[in-house]
Subunit: 468 residues, 3 copies
């Protein structure tokens, strides 16, 4: 279970030697995490994690999906069927996970979990049916110790800044309490995620608008009111440290409507009479509006479109969302964003980081856009592509047109708190390996490569996400 | 012409060393071939192959297409123009092939043919204009010997099971005779391929329905009758050893129609009055029906959509199908299969193996689907992608989301009987190399990698195709 | 700044050793450049280049786009705003470029520029803010010397043939004068580029038709007249040495109209009354017509569709075209070209070289088309893909289906005269590396690989572009 110091480095000895040197320069940089799903309350309350299933299995849809693919039942994995309480025993969940350790061979889950077990917990045991119980007991014992509480881990992980993901109606009370807590020195920032308010065709839109209106103190009964409320909440977030927003629409089309048309559709959906075509038009208009707002208030806009959410209706029905069947769709940016980039693409306050789950867009769309528009950055490989091999393909595909300086730096995007250092370390290793390949093919000097490796680890994401 | 024992292994010495060890563990496993186009009658009759052109050139559209691309005439390559008898002399065909040996440099045809010549025939000659005649004579002499008859080769190749591809109306008499033949111990299984019955817009549909109806003893004049006849023939195939079906529609859309609508369209096409839109709707409904049937009878469903058949009309007109101009189309699975996977995707009897000729779907669609749905497996690289470099890209693209256990194992899909061992050996070598790269980057132990290499070679395809 | 003799070769020592040998066999071959944008007048006038900004920065949209992406103003980079004269001082432009040297790390611009500075100018200085002025002065001094005049460089670069890109109405006077110049022995050929005449919906079409009609002495007021004028000018170009045409439409659809319909649309646009749909139909008809003409006169047809031109309207408005925001679109060939390939695909005089900026089409469309149709060749990686890493992916993707003999050989496609040798050298190095990987994996003998490396460098492009 010991982690090899050369893991993920290129096999060729000369390249590996250079990669080691480059990695060494960047390895101990602090962690800048501008996009993730850890809850601020976790750090505020600082309560111990309860057990390994709760820590590593139940909340992680990467893990759940492959266990499900091998026949495991989501209910038996701790997902409560709707209307029921979760019936699963955490030790049983852990046994199921350990019994399926082989199913994860070669996957990023295997890589992260190995690193967590070895590096965070220091265990010698490799998961298997035979070791499941002993490992469970060992981890439970560790989690009860003070050094495994969230704040202690935050410090141990070397996290300089951690951004959460938050609803615009959230009062950010946990963030405020954390900031005011003299015992906690970490920087935990909110991120404005307005997805729930963009598409009037999604059930519950009027109720969400009411809640948002209440938070902003602005009537959201009109389109102008919704826009004003969102602007109000963006300012609220920015005052509380947010430097970025995050949006994951069904597609990246951003097309403005004339104001009366936007008002008409807004009213129609409040009266439950809008059509699907109108909902789409409104959503695309709202994406344009968000780009306009970003060009005015300077919040960095993260855009990650083209995921088909909840592909398997019956599983959604029974177990709710985030149960492993959000699936990649064909991606597109160059055409969908054209109108909005004509409006804001060369605006100096505007900044747009593009993420994809369709890697064909790396060399065809994202890198060429980032290679012309000052506002556009090529986001790190995301979700299904947040893996050693996809990171290698990403660097190979985007560097030609965007270099290194128009990429975003690594994004961990995780709910699994303990995997944060392993994920950032993975990215630093892969970047070191890619840079080393440029060095040994004499496209880059080792000195310049080392400077880039250092820059990618922390200074670049600080600059890109305006965290300096 | 001697085959190097390290062929296809990674160049890096350390990785190559590991690959050698992993390959050695899997190299001598029996061949499990669950998908191919060898004729059962070939083994039943066990007659000698006539000549090298007939063995290696004329029936292989991989070979024909590149010879044609370099200016060779299909008629001169032994394809009879419609209405004519084939006029080409096999020795002339062989000379043409040998003269174009250079055109195949770097292609999989070159790789297989080299292996066949060296390994199966043990010749020292490399094809060229200068050696063509001597090589022809040497091969003709070999083919006349008993050890080059189909059954002798079947045994020598170590084939444990060989699946053929058969029309649902086929009585499978050759399969029955083979099974009853006390002289032949091999396992040769039929595969149910219903493509000819799905699209009512393809000329000749009513006549084919009649033939199917006669085979099943069921009137196929109604949609319900066609469905019943197909179910009847699936049972007939299953009784005779079939464990799988095979379907290659124009696209992967599977969308059910209401019964009266299906009956209406069925009747319209029998009366020659259906529209293209109705034909498409009916075909997509039939694909949904096939998925339903598979979820009930447990025959493993192989799906390989999105090939544009017979791209060059004049060549089809003159030389018929399978003459090298079936071409890849843009692939799609996640959207087209959604409705059907909501219906059957978590059904334990249902199993669906997805193949593609569009490698963008590997990481974007196939692996994520196989990484959630227990029923879905990522099929091996197919047809244009059945090559060393595409296999490497496939493993790099699918392992992140699907691991190894949700892949299908290798599929040779060949009409070229003698290429079967070379193709399976190629896959074992490429898998050993990929696994070795995970070992030397410390993502996998050598022990676990060896176990996976062994599993991929035979136990995995046995499990996936329900051949145990 | 010294160029390493092993640059771009694979890192593995054994593979690198083979690559060195293969490269050595091809390195000194003459340069065959069948597609580029150098002006014939440059060689006719043979005037000194004025300064490094004019030579390496201002005319090169590869350079401009990434400087712009990092915040530089196009006006400050020497692009004159419309209506203004260029106000930028070349030394300031050069300083900006040198200050951004780090932004180009890992990009092809970095690679070429390094090679130009080291190899063409022999400087020891690496660009940076600190060296910008000294480097500027050094380059200015060099450019004033006779050996840095265009003709001297042409000879020093070993250019055997250089094709320009020319409007069909061009009288090719510079080409004629060059050919008649006893002082100049180089071969500089025109290329027929009819794009401006194909789409009647693009503003200015009638005026351009008039100019073309005047050049041809044929009334272009009818569709038949336009076709006749284009045929006339093709013959004019062919008489003056052209062997090829070049077309870059919005998409690759080629679909013939009936003559009366073509005439009707032609007339409508001359009367300013055509619709966008009619413009598209006419353009696609014209592409079909160009393919017919090519099948008759044997001019090699280069097709590179699917680029979104001038993505950022305000920049086009202010600075004109070719300012770095032409962006790749999704590519398609197999369906769009079907009708035309049914008509001309097996015609022996017809030759079609396909280029793409969407690398998903390499293995899915271009290689399979080139692997069947005698007329079709897989064009070298182009524009955004004209880079070491994309060349490696191209060979990996196309060789399986098309081998080497159905590829086009390298295309530099450059406006940057001094980058021609560096670009061809890059391709020879990458091809040597790819071939070496086949040798060390025992898929190809070193002798055969060396023969292919030699063939790819000059004999193959001579054959493909009918330059023999």
């Amino acid at each position: 279970m010991a982690l090899h110091p050369d893991r993920l480095f290129p096999a060729d000895p000369a390249t590996r030697g250079v990669a080691r040197t480059l990695y060494a320069a960047a390895a101990s940089a602090p962690i800048v995490s501008p996009h993730g799903h850890v809850d601020a309350g976790l750090l505020l309350r600082d309560e111990p994690f309860t057990d390994p299933a709760d820590l590593l299995v139940v909340p992680d849809h990467y893990v759940l999906r492959l266990l499900h693919a091998h026949g495991a039942d989501l209910g038996a994995l701790g997902r409560a069927p709707r209307g029921d309480s979760p019936g699963a025993d955490p030790r049983e969940i852990w046994r199921t996970f350990c019994a399926h350790w082989g199913a994860f061979a070669g996957t990023p889950v295997r890589y992260w979990t190995t690193a967590i077990l070895a590096d965070v917990f220091g265990t010698d045991l490799t998961p298997s049916s035979a070791t499941a119980d002993a490992l469970y007991d060992e981890l439970v014992a560790a989690l009860a110790r003070p050094e495994f509480r969230p704040r202690a881990l935050f410090e141990r992980f070397g996290i300089e800044v951690l951004a959460t993901t938050d609803d615009p109606a959230d009062d950010l009370a946990d963030h405020a309490a954390l900031r005011d807590d003299p015992e906690f020195a970490g920087r935990v920032l909110p991120t404005f995620r307005p997805d729930a308010y963009l598409d009037p065709g999604v059930p519950g839109w009027p109720a969400r608008l009411d809640r948002l209106g209440a938070a902003a103190g602005i009537d959201t009964g009109t389109h102008a009111g919704l826009v004003a409320a969102l602007e109000n909440r963006r300012a609220y977030f920015a005052e509380r440290g947010a430097t970025a927003t995050d949006t994951g629409p069904v597609d990246a089309w951003a097309l403005p409507l004339r104001a009366p048309e936007a008002e008409r559709i807004h009213a129609a959906f409040l009266a439950s009479s809008g059509t699907p075509e109108e909902a789409t038009a409104y959503r695309r208009h709202m994406l344009f509006e968000l780009m306009r707002m970003a060009s005015e208030d300077g919040l960095v806009m993260q855009l990650h479109p083209s995921v088909i959410r909840n592909h398997h209706g019956p599983t959604l029905e029974r177990y709710g969302p985030d149960t492993g069947h959000d699936l990649p769709d064909v991606g597109a940016f160059t055409r969908p964003l054209r109108t909005a980039l004509e409006a804001f693409g060369t605006n100096q306050r505007f900044r747009l980081v593009l993420f994809t789950v369709d890697e064909t867009t790396f060399s065809r769309e994202i890198a060429p856009l980032a290679g012309f528009y000052p506002s556009v950055y090529a986001g790190a490989p995301w979700w299904f592509l947040d893996t050693p091999s996809a990171i290698a393909r990403y660097r190979g595909a985007v560097t030609d047109s965007a270099g290194f300086g128009k990429t975003s730096g690594f994004i961990d995007d995780t709910r699994a708190f303990c995997s944060i250092p392993a994920r950032h370390d993975m990215a630093r290793r892969m970047d070191a390996g890619f840079l080393a390949s440029l060095v040994v093919t004499h496209q880059l000097s080792e000195e310049e490569a080392a400077a880039i490796a250092v820059d990618l680890a922390a200074p670049l994401p600080r600059r890109v996400f305006r965290l300096e």
